[in-house]
Symmetry: C2
Subunit: 401 residues, 2 copies
């Protein structure tokens, strides 16, 4: 058992978290450290283990208050325990240059999101010492965020009392809050042709790749309008150059801040695929007649995550602004084209913004993080969670429209 | 050591060969059996081992004559020792139903080309007993035919005296000879775009898959003219749906009986790729300006095998026709859209036709072969190789134009 008799500093906890590998689905070691840490503060840690498909560990839920109702409406702090895959076996090398931490370019650092986890534990420690000074908090530490927010997706909101939250997972600078994120859909296009030998009976084949290319060449991709992006991400078809391929798959995504635009573009993409399918059976050069059955194509859609746009009058956002001002920062509300655990917490009725933690180079081997940034984030978070802070006047200089 | 003191029958040799697994690159066990068999007949077996990249075993070369010059211009018999991959470990199950041999549908049988190997060994035995009755023969048993004729491709014609040959590897019926095969080229199209996040900075990306689809949609594929086929065989691009893919690859082939058509279509395909590259930098929807550098695309061509069209006046083809007639078969000259070891023997100055051995369902788990067919092939081969048979009148009823 790790001894937490002498409280550790924020930096120590952060460095310890970085030293424990926790790629998605393998969060048990880091979860064990967190559990011991929180229990040493006197808090109970519950693991959400209903869904064994999530891997060896479930989301951790920690309440910082024992009296019900708490003295003030609680806030949930959300961070994720997992990281993107680590190429090296064992630990991540930690190189310190003054207050900058990096891996020397050999591996992602994992500050995404161990900075967030460290900050949540930091708040728990503060609360444990001065419960009346701070807003009551609950902490949810999720698993497998990097694999599509699987932990947050399966999180049951009945496990906590808080109905507002802060996701400690923003790569944007200190002083920013992400208050808008798009809805994202994934699509898979399947094209079926008819297999044949490329030469011996070429005229009997229907080339699925050719047909998929005809669909793909007409698919909307890139920035489609100011609210909407799409991407053809993966294409795969065929097994051998001397076989007419009977299968080809195209995978992509579509995201928009506006549901109406999303529906419009989803319809456009679906139409491209259907039009290619119906009434457009192409004629293989040299074939006796167009094939009546092939090619066939279909598209399936799956919701990756729901979007959100927070009401800027949210008391928690006012607290964020006040906290920034207290620290001499100009608060900024941002719109992100990305998504994360916050999308699912918002969708589950827990309006949550993402606090910018000033991460750098996330998901790459150049990921780096400054301890001074961590301390700045901690100070801002303490300000936001100072008990009893009333709503402040809404600031008009935020860039979000 | 296997004992060959008592000569084995054609059937026994064939069944023994079938029972020895020899997927491409793993021909050493079957080569050892063949070596012992041929040496027991008094012939020297040489292994062509110059190219270690060919695997554990090289091509085997066996001369059936010791006097130089031999009493008549020799003929080389070619067969390949390897088979397509065998799904089951160890031996191929052999099920006999009357004279039909199959595996019960669990594995390719390997009659392709162990029927050919058995026939070559059968001829060697005949020649060993009655050297004056038969045309002097040389036997070349190749490796890795199923992986692109690698053994034949590396075969050095200086190892044999024969300047005409018979490839014992035809899946066509007994009584057929393949006298024409196309030249085949392989192509690889590489498209390079510019990576970006699918949403965060979508406008900076150049989607390689989109561009590859635009190329692919316009690529000639299928039966292009009576002499020419092409096939888009494989497409692969992208790693994740939320990343604008910067690479996409299309692989395909082109084959034709006529060099002029081959050049024409090769030029057409190359033009499609180049036109898409030059002066057609597409504008990503929403991007500030078309990207000057991307997409880039290129095509590379590689000769898979050279084609051949035999002169129908070849004395060996006349012998084939005479042999068929003697056995009551109607000889047929065929053109094949496929290729094999014969392509390389022809290209190396050894005009060779492919003798139809009546194989069924090759390269599939339904492969089957009849012992009666094997005996019929042996009788025909004996006829063809009967010493001193003069040229006969050319038959006009062959389907080749």
């Amino acid at each position: 058992m790790t001894s937490f008799k002498h409280r550790r500093s924020l930096e120590e906890v952060f460095l310890t978290l970085l030293s424990i590998p926790s790629p998605s689905g393998k969060e048990n070691q880091i979860a064990e450290y967190i559990r011991q840490y929180a229990e040493s503060l006197g808090f109970e840690v519950r693991e959400e283990v209903e869904d064994p498909s999530l891997g060896e560990t479930g989301n951790l839920v920690i309440h910082s208050f024992t009296s019900f109702p708490p003295h003030e409406e609680p806030v949930v702090l959300v961070a994720h325990m997992d990281t993107v895959p680590i190429p090296l076996e064992g630990k991540v090398p930690l190189i310190m240059e003054e207050d900058l931490i990096h891996t020397g370019g050999v591996s992602p650092l994992g500050a995404d999101d161990k900075a967030g986890v460290a900050l949540a534990l930091h708040v728990l420690e503060k609360v444990s010492k001065e419960p009346e000074t701070y807003t009551p908090v609950e902490v949810v530490l999720t698993v497998r965020e990097e694999q599509g927010c699987l932990g947050a997706r399966h999180f049951s909101p009945s496990r906590i009392r808080a109905r507002k939250g802060i996701c400690l997972d923003g790569e944007t600078p200190i002083g920013t809050a992400i208050v808008q994120s798009p809805t994202k859909w994934k699509y898979t296009i399947q094209v079926q042709g008819k297999s044949a030998h490329a030469a011996l009976n070429a005229e009997e084949g229907v080339n699925a790749i050719l047909h998929a290319c005809r669909i793909g060449a007409a698919l909307p991709t890139g920035l489609l309008d100011p609210s909407t992006t799409a991407n053809i991400g993966i294409v795969e078809g065929g097994t051998s150059i001397n076989v007419v391929p009977d299968r080809c798959t195209i995978k992509g995504e579509l995201r928009s801040f506006e549901e109406a635009r999303l529906l419009f573009w989803r319809e456009e993409i679906t139409k491209q695929v259907e039009e290619a399918t119906n009434g457009n059976k192409y004629r293989t050069p040299g074939s006796v007649s167009p094939d009546k059955l092939f090619p066939q194509s279909s598209i399936s859609w799956e919701l990756a995550y729901p979007g959100y746009t927070l009401n800027k009058e949210e008391p928690l956002l006012n607290r964020f602004q006040l906290g920034c001002q207290t620290l001499g920062l100009t608060p900024q509300f941002l719109s992100s084209r990305g998504g994360g655990d916050a999308n699912y917490f918002n969708a589950k009725g827990i309006p949550s913004f993402v606090l910018g933690l000033g991460m750098e180079g996330i998901h790459t081997s150049s990921e780096r993080y400054r301890l001074s940034t961590l301390h700045e984030a901690a100070r801002l978070l303490e300000q936001i969670l100072c008990s009893g802070t009333g709503p402040i006047t809404f600031l008009n200089d935020s860039p979000i429209g």
